[in-house]
């Protein structure tokens, strides 16, 4: 399961959070964790919305 991160200083977050280990996964196509996230999305899953501060 994944979760969006809140914007930082008005800019969209450049990472997605993996809830299982609180890892921050960058949106880099060469990152294997991001590749797994894209596969997860392709299966029809949706990340949780960002926490509101």
């Amino acid at each position: 399961m994944y979760q969006h991160l809140p914007d930082f200083k008005g800019q969209p977050a450049q990472c997605i959070k993996r809830i299982a280990d609180n890892a921050f996964i960058p949106m880099d196509p060469a990152n294997t964790d991001y590749q797994e996230y894209l596969e997860w999305l392709a299966e029809g899953n949706e990340p949780l919305p960002a926490d509101t501060e």
């Binding site: 921050f24 960058p26 880099d28």
Partner: protein, 351 residues
Amino acid sequence: MSSKARELANLGNAYSDGALSNRNLIINGAMQVAQRGTSVTGLEVGQGRTCDRIGTYVNTGTWTVTQETDAPDGFGNSFKVLATAVESFGTTGQVQIFYTIEGRDLQGVAKGTPSAKEMVFSFYCKANKTGTHAIAFRDQDNSRVCTKYFTVNSTDTWEYKTIVLPADTTGAFDNDNNGSLQIEMWMNGGSNFKTGTPTGAWEVFDNAIRLGDGHTATIGDSVNDYFQITGVQLEVGDTATPFEHRSYGQELALCQRYYQFVGGQANSFPLWQSYYASGNYAVWPMPFKTEMRASPTSTIVGTWQTTRIGTLALLYVNNQGFGIGGPASSTGLIEVYPNSNDDLLTFSAEL
């Protein structure tokens, strides 16, 4: 020919194949570096990593993965997988040790060209059971595979193995930072992976030949089954040369392209310290020790000690470094430092 003359002749072959130094394409082949720790226990599904760059994938049974000091003469460490609970491998069970090489590091192989070269894979292994193991060399860029076999002849004994891979004029390795060649050394696997007969040449990838019908090893059918490796080397050419030992510092720097961490020392001085006004956002940029393969996945582990800062956060990360910080809760000196050995920032761009 004397053994010394043979070694010199083999090095002559290595020279002809293009490298006397830096010929080992495997990083941390002597299993010296273990940045993530020396033991993973209770591994049931997924990857387990201790020695850097060396992966274990399991989906059957329960396993312990360790860096060991037991090794053949000339080596200080080895990598071990140990079965602590067993179940049937059925049709899709897996336990394998794997290693993935970046395409950029494989261009000397000239794969997919008329000048394609052979490669030699060599290693030391030890197991509690005799048997024949499959190694699937997977070309991830072109969906091809070359499956080879080696046999453990004696139990609980270090043995040296060499495997020659044929040249492949089909399918070039991409010249980029993604994984291009994955080496899967199988301990055991389900029946779906054993129904085919590998030719021993490079061929179209098929799950049925990842182990193929030549694999007989049954590591993981019994509790306390184990398999160990060290001295792993992959080099261009048709002749295995003696293992190329690199210094610990060289291996660590090479490993840090794929994984590195900050912290891990109790009672250390602040890693970051600045004067900020209340409400201002403190951001400390930090270059990586080595530029990483890709933008890494990052984690904040443990409870870091902070002064005048709210929630500590990694604010941005790319393959060259990261920014850490947070909002100043009051005006004054803001500090961040690890207060236990478990306080870490980890960065992984592993393949």
